[in-house]
Symmetry: D2
Subunit: 325 residues, 4 copies
């Protein structure tokens, strides 16, 4: 039941959907969905439990939570507070699951990493989240946790490592160096993602306890940001802000084939093309795409507004960790 092609997506949800469309159950992968009708928030939980499941999904064993809501793009303060609270709840769940030891609450420290390129709007999500955080590590270290007015303080620090074209270094090298020096218990890495489906832009947040993977994001990190590369557990928070050029061509081809099938004279071609599996079709499209389209991405015109709003919502969710539950 293997598939040796890859319609790459950073969202476990989209990976899973691909199989669903083939009516296939994948061993070792559990999918649960819940929908909060009042708040219009859909949460999908993909648990990859075994190495076989991981192989089939092309993603490591772990928990992938996807929060989808149209309100993520709507400028309404109350909605955003609700979403922040929900995101905080799920981040906390993954923190609890991945804490190495049962050390006392107050010692727990988190390094937030804002991945991506500050100077390219759709890639600036990570840096923007870091900009809006209330960091506390230096205050707690200087004045003690009581300076924070809470009983169990989290020590939050943050860094924007930049991208390789600006720094000459892999983000992973920078983060590993800082982790070795400042010893956080966990890393939360925030990155803008590329989605397969342009309908996901503006409305989706994925939280996973498997970190950020090679080739993820817009800037295509070559080395992942994971527990094995940086030394402490990494929770990855990703928001699709672009789709890649090949993807939108591929989507159009699907529509084209459907159109051919409904045409008297051309039905034959449609059927021939339909017989290709998704991977073959994607490869076919990639060949057709002019080579200079590689390295290009597709993004909405109001991307600046979207980055501004969503980064505030995610910062707020991380700030809420401070008042530890």
């Amino acid at each position: 039941m293997y598939r040796n092609y890859s319609v790459r997506t950073d969202l476990a949800l989209e990976e899973k959907e691909r199989f669903e469309s083939d009516d296939v159950e994948i061993q070792g992968v559990v999918l649960e969905e819940e929908y909060d009708e009042e708040q219009e928030i859909r949460v999908t939980r993909v648990e990859i439990k075994t190495e076989n499941g991981a192989k089939a999904m092309g993603k490591p064993v772990g928990t992938y939570l996807t929060i989808e809501t149209p309100d993520l793009a709507v400028p309404d303060d109350e909605s955003h507070r609700n979403i922040s609270e929900k995101l905080c709840m799920y981040i906390r769940e993954l923190i609890q699951k991945n804490r190495k030891e049962k050390e006392p609450e107050e010692d727990f420290s988190i390094l937030v990493v804002g991945l991506g390129n500050r100077d390219v709007t759709p890639d600036a999500l990570g840096p923007c989240v870091a900009d809006h955080l209330s960091v506390t590590r230096h205050i707690v270290r200087e004045y003690g946790k009581y300076a924070m007015g809470v009983e169990h303080a989290r020590l939050i620090s943050a860094v924007v490592p930049g991208v390789m074209g600006q720094t000459g270094m892999e983000s992973t090298e920078i983060v590993r160096g800082i982790v070795n020096e400042t010893h956080p218990d966990m890393v939360i890495a925030v990155d803008a993602l590329a989605a397969r489906n342009s309908r996901r832009l503006n409305r989706t947040v994925q939280i996973a306890d498997t970190g950020i993977h090679p080739g993820s994001g817009i800037g295509n990190n070559r080395i992942g940001l994971t527990e094995s590369s940086v030394g402490v557990p990494v929770i990855g928070i990703g928001v699709p802000t672009v789709v890649d050029a090949a993807t939108i061509v591929n989507d159009t081809m699907e529509n084209f084939i459907t159109a051919l099938e409904s045409s008297e004279s051309l039905r034959g071609v449609g059927e021939v093309l339909r017989s290709y599996n998704p991977g073959e079709k994607y490869e076919f499209v990639k060949e057709l795409i002019a080579p200079h389209l590689n390295g290009m991405f597709v993004t909405p015109k109001d991307v600046d507004e979207m980055i501004h709003q969503i980064s505030h919502t995610i910062s707020e969710a991380i700030n809420m960790l401070q008042t530890a539950g």
Copy 2:
């Protein structure tokens, strides 16, 4: 000989190419090309001389100069100075052609308008050019032209009007108000453009004496910036920094049809599709594209570097107008 469809492009050069591919001469339109082999700069001059030519081209009567060079994206100071000098020479040509009267050199004043959205990287070209200009109007007005150390000073002023979603006003309203108040002899409007062909990104500058037209650029101004809308001649400087999503799908379809034709079993379909004219094909593609793709654009990942470099080169060209020839 009319064409009632529209494969929209902001570049007169691309409009003309469309006809060439059909082996058609257009009356009232003259095309000249020159190539500087040493500097690898190709200059194409499209002169639309008659209303018939304008109708066929879908662009007003005027002069459209396109400067193409791979060096526009290469970070080499000397190349950029050469390009700035060339751009300055052509801007000067269009200024001379459009000067209303033969008033003395020293009275000549230019308002530079940086169109586009400062907060969206590929649309920030105009604001970036304005940021790097050396404005002189206030100095000449306060201290006289001798303060500039030149004999024939140009009074250069600059404004970044912002986009409608930020200001609630059309750029044209803002510019017309400022023109009525400050009486420049001419406007130079700089804007990021959408190209049809992604190969043009990074390497093309168009200079035209017909201003900026409705629906041009990334932000889709609804009212043009032209002599008739602002009251003085408008020289438009445009650089393609994005292609629209429909365009890249369209390009791929072309390759697809070619591929079908060379396939034994599918040749028939290819031939049927080939018989469609470009407009029909484009409409077909637009229908296939999912509606949420409208309002999206395609841009290269290194767009920030590109905007940074090209905006400096264009600012430098306009600054060189100061030392009037």
Copy 3:
């Protein structure tokens, strides 16, 4: 009872205080103060009612409201919402007072002008306020007021004119041009101010119905933004973000003189200096200050945080005008 020297301040409150310290009542000037103990907000109302009062105060006839609160600099969402509501209430009062005719509510339109230099942190307050506004003019004009979901819509537009060194034009020229073209009923101009007293930084907002005056602000506009210069009433909103270099030297001199008076051997000098009036002392200090200190300003290190927070609070107050009372 005239004073022909000038210890310049943009705050009417500080101008008034100067007289108070001399125990003088100024004819034609009324001062009222109220203090909300719970919210720690002090509101001072200076009404300059006559030309004589204007002469004595060095400020035009009109209403000057100063809102002072330590919470302006404290990052607490709820406090800021309270302050925004209070600011909105006072802006509304000045709008009502200055509306030319009793035209129906729904026709009322406001142009917000963000004065200052976007690239110099303490001068960026005006541009930041404009960035965070929800402009509505284009929506109401396109879709009618019902698109806003309110019964009496305000048409809000906004512009960031830039500073003369960037544009070559006076801000007033730009604003007058735009007013003539787009016909707002009123202008609200937001600017960063220089205060006399560094304790006012971070905690003070002045709202006045006399506009922005020549030499106000950090950038020293040479022409004011007033009803007589732009053609419609101008409400000025100012926040002190810097003090000028001469001011802090002057403050220190005051302390110095007091120190001298309490010293056995130096008492005589203190008394001689004390006999100078404030204007003489200020002139004396200005002579002592090295000439290269002119054009310099004093600002706190955390000025970026302060600008960020206060600009959001003021934007929010203006956005609240939308739901007209």
Copy 4:
């Protein structure tokens, strides 16, 4: 010959001047000056050779080069290229002096650290320099030094660590972590400095092989960036962009005392004050200054232009290291 007070300055030149004004020779400190009349560039070399010299100067043993030129603030490309070349020459000298071993040229790697706060204009010098660098480490590592088209490549990497209020970490922690991970042979740290004398703003660059010291710069790093704290030699490049508030008051007091001495009636006080030594006077002034003035700085109004130009000049100097001499 000790002095137990401190008129703090980040410039060794200013520290030395303080002694000169007292006509004192300091053992273990050598000062040389050269002046290029044509280019109007003055270079002062302070060599602190012994621990005694270090004690007297309040600065560690090492070489401090100060380059002063009015052209640093003048927007003339050719001047800036000359200055970049001169800066590059001196940086190279300090690199040669501090290279640990005689390893082959091509292995030499440098980490450039842009210290300071990107969001506060006068503190943004370091981040701006990093933004304009051409980093090469990743290219040389991937494609070999021949990809750079030079025989002896330098591997240049760069990082902007941010300030403690944004990151919760000391810059030194971040840099030490990255050094331990990526093993550069040397660090070049660029920072905006506070000067004692406001005449030095805009026109001075200090290059020293002793790194950046605690309390230096605008942001007041608490831990220095030196060979002992990060593990490899650190060359510090500093540019004064602010003076602190106490300093300008102090300067004015000097003028005040001079004025008193020339006054018939007040001469006595002037003489009493003159008998204070500089440290006593500075302490006196600090007491007089209102406490809320601490944490404030004085900066010129055109600081954005200045930062823009000077950061380009320094980036260019570091980029020139690439073509190793």
